[in-house]
Symmetry: none
Subunit: 156 residues, 2 copies
């Protein structure tokens, strides 16, 4: 297993159940995992970003710390944010898959729905001679369309 994955799950374990917040010392954690301290920042950036539903604060100097807060947000809120702000008028395949997997992880969509969306928007499915820029525009539109459909279902 990758170091980053280990650190990620370690942090998530610390935060599990009720706690929505965890505080840690970058250097201690790095020492514990025997890695460069900056590795911790990498994990934060790639697994605990706002897109992943987390916020982080920190302080330097003596008694410094890193605090990670899991943002609780209703599914509908999250979906609306994605539709109205996050997704503009272009989405690459990578972005699309990342977003979908985040929605799944946050249990806003089911695994089946996630798979369905990914299937629709994968470049394999779109393997038709259209320039990438148009594919990205199409993806953005379809993604929003599907997310709104899901939002509507949740309300029902």
């Amino acid at each position: 297993m990758r170091l980053s994955d280990s650190i990620e799950s370690f942090i998530k374990t610390l935060m599990n159940e009720d706690a929505t917040e965890v505080e840690l010392k970058r250097n201690e954690l790095a020492e514990y995992f025997g890695c460069a301290p900056s590795q911790i920042n990498y994990v934060l950036a790639t697994r605990f970003s706002p897109d992943h539903g987390y916020l982080t604060e920190s302080r330097r100097g003596g008694g410094g710390y890193i605090r990670i807060v899991r943002v609780v947000q209703s599914g509908a809120q999250r979906l609306m944010y994605l539709v109205n702000e996050r997704i503009g008028d272009s989405l690459t395949e990578e972005e699309t898959l990342r977003l979908i997997s985040q929605l799944k992880e946050q249990r806003i969509v089911t695994a089946d729905e996630a798979a369905l969306m990914a299937a629709a928007l994968s470049s394999r499915a779109m393997g038709v001679p259209v320039p990438d820029s148009l594919k990205d525009a199409l993806r953005a539109r379809m993604m929003k369309s599907m997310l709104m459909s899901i939002a509507a279902r949740n309300r029902a």
Copy 2:
């Protein structure tokens, strides 16, 4: 025997019996068979494509992997195959909607899934300057891709 065939059966052996999923390292496998790593991609593309009933995911970088998932065949899925035959390489919006509603009526897909598919493929979602013929080709591909995903649903 051809190399590709050997690799194919090797992978299928790994996946035999109960396992519907196998994870491997491209470079290791290539080394084992004494071939170029890209040969593995060739085998995946020609023998483990969605058309063949498999889905693949992968990650690059340290600790990278390739995962192959076999889509389990069951009653509803055989229907999917029929449907796949019927959908050629072009689908108008009307045909699409008709198909979706048939699938829903036959309870092959849920209402939610039907809505999701319709949302993805509606002309509104696809309202991007692409000629209709291409849109229809895209629809066909995406529809098949989504149906494939639904067929894969409920896998262990």
